[in-house]
Amino acid sequence: MMSTQLSTILQQIVNALTIGSIYALLAIGFSMVYGVLRLINFAHGDVFMLGAYFAFLVFQALESKFLTGILLAVVLTGITGLIIERAAFRPMRGAPEGNLFISSLAVSMLIQNGVIMILGPQPQSFLIPGFLGKSINIGDVVITNIAITIFVVTIILLIILVLFLTRTKLGISMRATASNLDACHLMGINVNIAIAVAFGVSSLIAGVGGILWATRYTIFNPFTGAVPGIKAFIGALIGGIGSLQGAVIGGYLLGMLEVLVVILLPPEFAGYRDVFVFLMLIVTLLVRPQGIMGKTEK
C-alpha cells in the first residue's frame, strides 16, 4: 500500500498531465498563429468551444459512430478556422497589431453570440462511449480512461504536427513565413496559403482539444472556451511564443501550476487559483518576455 500522501501527489500529477495536455493543444495553436501574423488570436478559445459544439451537432444530426462523428467535427472546426482567417484577418493584413487584436476580440464575440443565438446559452453535452467512463486503479490513484485518451491523443497529434512541420512543403513554408515574412515573399512562397494553413491546422488541433475537454467535463456552454483560451495563451507565452516546444512545455507547466496551487493552498483559497496563473503571466512578461524557449524579437 502506498502512503496516502504519495498517492495524493500521484493523483494530482495525473490531473496535471490531463489538463496540461489540453492547454498544450490550445497553446500550440496560439503559438502558430502568433508566429505567422504576430496576432494574439482571442477567438482561439472559442474555436476550441466550437469543436465540442460541432461534435454535439454531428451526433444529433447523423447519429453516426463516435469516431467518425468526431473526425467530422474536427474537420468542420478546421474549416471554420480557414473561414475566420479569410473573412476577418486577411482583409486587414498589414494593419497595426492593435487592430488585429480587436478584430480577434470581435470574432470571439461573434462565435459566442452566434452559438447563443442558434442553440441557446444553456449547457449541452453529448453521449460518450461507455469505455471512456471506466477507470484503472493503481493503489489509491484513479486513472480514468479519458485521462489516458487525452494524454495519448495529445502525444500522437504532436508527433503528426512535428512531421508535418518538418517533412512537408506546406509545413516548411509555414515555418519560413513565421521566421521572415518579407523574405518569403521574395522567395516566391505563397504567404497567404501559409497563413491560412496555420489557421486551419491550429483550429483542427483546437477542435480536438475542445472535444477532449467536453468528454472530460461532460458539459459545455458558449463560454466554455474563454477561460482555457486565456490560460493556454499564457502557457504559450510562458513557454516562448512562436516556439512549438515552448507551447507544449508552457501548457504542461500551467497544468502543473494549477494543481500545485490546489495542493499547497488551504481549501478556502481555492477560488484564488486563477489569480496565480495571471500573476505568473505578469512575472513572465517582466522577467523573461520571450518565454522559456523563445528568442528575443528584434
Binding site: 476577418a88 487592430n99 478584430s103 477560488g271 484564488y272 489569480v275 495571471f278
Partner: protein, 347 residues
C-alpha cells in the same frame, strides 16, 4: 486691463451653457427611460475618452479599463451604501465602513483616487512593455480584479453582487464630469506634455532620443486615464444600482472598444459619437432580440443578436475604415465643409 473673454474661452462657455440648458429641458420633458439612456450615453462617453487617452493618444494598448472601473465601482458603492444594508449583508466590514454613508462626490473622488493608486502600482513595472505585451499585462489586471471581486465575499458579496446602491448619478453629475474630462484632455493635448505623449505614440525611440522621459509620461497618461475610468465606474454603479464581478467581463470592455474604434484614435468628438451610436443601437435592436412581429413576419427570439451585429459591424469597420469615422480629427464645421466639398467635387 486683461481680456478674459477671448474667442478661446468664450466658445467652451457657450457650449457648457447650451449643454446646461439642454439638461434642464431633458429633465423636465423626457421620460425616466429616456433620461436613463441619456445617462448611459454620458457614462460611456466618459469611459471611451478615458480609453482614448491611453490607447488613442499615447499608443499604450490597454485592456485595464474593466478592472479600473470595477475597483472604483466597488469602492464608491461601498462608501455610499446605506448603513442598514451593510450591517445586514456585509457584517464583516470594519465598523467605520459600515457606519459610513457618504454622498456621491466624496465617494466618487475616493473611488477614483484608489483606482489610480492600485492601477498605477500594478502597471508600473509593465509600463515598459510594448504593444500587445502591455495589453496582456493589463488584461491580467482586469481578470485579477474580477477574480478578487468574486472571491472576497466578505467585502463584495462575490457573485451575489452588491445590490441596493442608491441612484445618486444624475444628468448633472454625469455631464458635468464629461465636460471636465473633455476640458482636461483638450488642455492636456494642447500642452507640451500632451505633445510628448503623442510623440511617444508615433515613435517611441525617437521620442526618447529627443529627451522625453518615456516611462514618466506613460505612467502619467495611464494615471489620468485611470482617474476618469474610476469616475466613469463610480457614476456607472450609482446609475445601475448593482455591481457584480461579471459587470466587467470582456464583453463589456469589447463594447467600449467598439465605441472607441468607431470614433477613431485621438478624437474626443469621435469617442462621444461612438458612445452615442453604440449605446442607442441595442435599444433599436432589442425588439428583434426578444422576438416580435416585424412587417408581418414572425421573428423568433434571437438572444445575442445585438452583440453579433456589433461584432460584424466592428470587423467591417476595421477592414473598411480602420482609422474610425473621424480618423484622429475632431468634428468641426471646417472638417464637415471639406467633406461635403469632397462629396460634390468627386464627380
Amino acid at each position: 486691463m486683461k481680456i478674459y473673454f477671448t474667442k478661446k474661452t468664450i466658445f467652451p462657455l457657450i457650449i457648457i451653457g447650451i449643454l446646461a440648458g439642454l439638461i434642464l429641458i431633458a429633465q423636465h420633458s423626457l421620460s425616466i427611460y429616456q433620461i436613463g439612456l441619456l445617462s448611459l450615453v454620458g457614462i460611456n462617453a466618459i469611459l471611451v475618452i478615458s480609453l482614448n487617452i491611453t490607447n488613442g493618444y499615447t499608443g499604450l494598448f490597454s485592456l485595464a479599463i474593466g478592472g479600473l472601473m470595477g475597483i472604483s465601482a466597488y469602492v464608491s458603492g461601498l462608501l455610499t451604501l446605506s448603513t442598514d444594508y451593510k450591517a445586514i449583508n456585509l457584517p464583516d466590514l470594519p465598523q467605520w465602513l459600515i457606519a459610513a454613508q457618504w454622498p456621491l462626490l466624496p465617494a466618487l473622488l475616493v473611488g477614483a483616487s484608489i483606482t489610480v493608486v492600485i492601477g498605477t502600482l500594478f502597471h508600473w513595472p509593465s509600463l515598459r512593455l510594448k504593444g500587445h505585451y502591455f495589453a496582456l499585462a493589463s488584461l491580467a489586471f482586469t481578470e485579477i480584479v474580477r477574480l478578487l471581486a468574486s472571491n472576497m465575499k466578505k467585502i463584495t458579496r462575490g457573485a451575489l453582487s452588491l445590490t441596493g446602491v442608491a441612484s445618486l448619478s444624475n444628468l448633472w453629475w454625469i455631464y458635468g464630469w464629461l465636460v471636465i474630462e473633455v476640458l482636461v484632455v483638450i488642455q492636456l493635448f494642447r500642452s507640451r506634455h500632451g505633445r510628448a505623449l503623442i510623440a511617444i505614440r508615433d515613435d517611441e525611440g525617437l521620442a526618447q532620443l529627443k529627451g522625453i522621459n518615456v516611462a514618466f509620461y506613460k505612467a502619467f497618461a495611464f494615471m489620468i486615464s485611470a482617474f476618469f475610468a474610476g469616475v466613469g465606474g463610480a457614476l456607472w454603479v450609482h446609475y445601475t444600482n448593482i455591481v457584480s464581478p461579471s459587470s466587467f467581463r470582456l464583453a463589456v470592455i469589447f463594447t467600449l472598444f467598439i465605441m472607441f474604434t468607431i470614433g477613431g484614435k485621438a478624437s474626443i468628438s469621435g469617442s462621444i459619437i461612438g458612445a452615442v451610436i453604440i449605446t442607442l443601437l441595442p435599444q433599436i435592436l432589442r425588439p428583434l432580440e426578444e422576438g416580435s412581429v416585424i412587417f408581418g413576419i414572425n421573428v423568433p427570439e434571437l438572444y445575442g443578436l445585438t452583440q453579433l451585429i456589433l461584432a460584424v459591424f466592428l470587423i467591417l469597420l476595421l477592414i473598411k475604415r480602420p482609422q474610425g469615422i473621424f480618423g484622429g480629427r475632431e468634428l468641426s464645421f471646417k472638417w464637415l465643409e471639406r467633406q461635403f466639398k469632397g462629396l460634390f467635387s468627386s464627380d
